[in-house]
Amino acid sequence: MDALLTGLSMALTPENLLYAVIGVLLGTAVGVLPGIGPAMTVALLLPVTYNVSPSAALIMFAGIYYGGMYGGSTTSILLNTPGESSSVITALEGNKMAKTGRAAQALATAAIGSFVAGTIGTILLVAVAPTVADWVVVLGAPSYFALMLLALVAVTSVLGSSKLRGFISLALGLAIGLVGTSTGQARLTLDNPLLADGIDIVVVAVAIFAVGEALWVAAHLRRRPLEIIPVGRPWMDRRDWRRSWAPWLRGTAFGFPFGALPAGGAELPTFLSYITERRLAGEHRAEFGKGAIEGVAGPEAANNASAAGTLVPLLAIGLPTTATAAVILAAMQSYGLQPGPQLFEAEPELVWTLLASLFVANTLLLVINLPLAPLWAKLLRIPRPYLYAGILFFAVLGAYSVNFQRFDVLLLCLFGALGFAMRRFGLPVLPLIVGVILGPRLEEQLTQALQLSQGDVSALWSEPVAVIVYVVIAVLLLGPLVLRLVPGRQGPERLEDEVEELEEEVRS
């Protein structure tokens, strides 16, 4: 508690407060714009880590992360086009509410629900993360190896539509992570001395997120403009409050644990929150599909709580489970910070300042976003060419500033083309980026484990935690296959199919 108060006093210094404000404003703006997300923004801002103090940069990135979760809901509600994948469910009821003239109430319940869920989620994060770190810090290399493997398998096979595509993407990421001579021998360097130090994560992240997306947008530049629903200042009356508070709390209860699991992400908890609210709606059951406020309040709370939840594995174990968390991890590494349980011991001031600033960011989001909603909607009128010209400019600047080498800009173009191809062929981006970042660390733990056991492979399953984690991995991979073989039972549907079914049901 003392540590948190010290952190709070650090977070409230003018400099850190300024970075928090910049973070939430930027985060909300990119959340509102379809196609531009917090992961791309943090990637583009990675070069600022050369000049800004670690705590200020991390505060800004956390603000962007939280802000992005919020901003996506505005687009979902007013345009019926989710800005982020986590807001897909919000569009179901949110847009219906807006169409019946209740846009202000939908935006209000999303904003206040995000605040409530974000605050509760951050309290849980503060309570859980140090404890998890204490458990994890005693684990040996074999267990770490297993945990990282679990994270890789989980982000690859649990999320996304196709396991095969997920693993292709993961393989690409691991291959990029292999480049270099860190192990003593040259791997995939093509005898090029410029590749000897490996490929900088900034170049890969910026290329995949920013250049890939810019090329994709350029290929689909002209689209029929969407109809936006005009909105004033968000507000709710007493009835809306009465109908919203329980969904907020239930949404938080769904969001946080799912975010904290190694297979995090906000898609599953928002979906579960929606179907739960529909089931529990009682007298308002008939309103679902026509704009029920519960269907906005629950999922919006769930996605913000899951954002707080994903910070648990990130800070306590050093495992990223979302694209944004992966890029934030890259930022921490570029400061020479070792994310994981040691972080709480080695850098208590930094960690607690970051945690305290999350409360500040959350409050800022509520204060800033309630009056500014109409302004955010105006962002959608910016022509894409202007927007993406700016993004490409910062992308090239960022890639060049890593080593001040033209070669990095060449790599940027190359990986940008890869990013475009991945979007074209439906490969998910998350496994690649997590693979690039976790790959080298995975190898480090493997080397360490095998060195201690003098090359005996069985050391890898010598720790109980490792064995449990391998069982979980096996269940994750084989579970769906086994279920499909059980006669008389349909295999579990993919999340995307479920969401589609739900959408059809709601729209009919």
Binding site: L79, T81, L221, R222, R224, P225, L380, R381, P383, R384
Partner: protein, 128 residues
Amino acid sequence: MTVVVGWTPDARGHAALVRAIAEAQVHDERLLVVNASSGTAPVDDRFAGVADVSQVRALLDSLGVDGEVRQTVVRDVGDALLDIAEEVDASMLVIGIRHRSPVGKLLMGSTAQRILLDARCPVLAVKA
């Protein structure tokens, strides 16, 4: 013959539309209402929504004008209007104009000016 009008769901577009309807009635011609956008922004206020379009259709019907509303997403709004005017062999092209500052014109160009200079048929420019 056909009267073509470049229409946007705002005051300028309304002034042009009203005048174009009058022209079509006087000469007993068809009316083609064109609403175009470059489609580069997710939201374009000058691209009419469903409600606006049906309002215009209702207006045309109530006045007994033989007309249609065409919405397109094109590379360049001015060129699109000129192309459509040629395609239907328009007797007249009606556009709405507004005052532009020299700097604004320098930065954004002027669709109206290009239409006035490049059109092959008479152009009627209506001020809102």
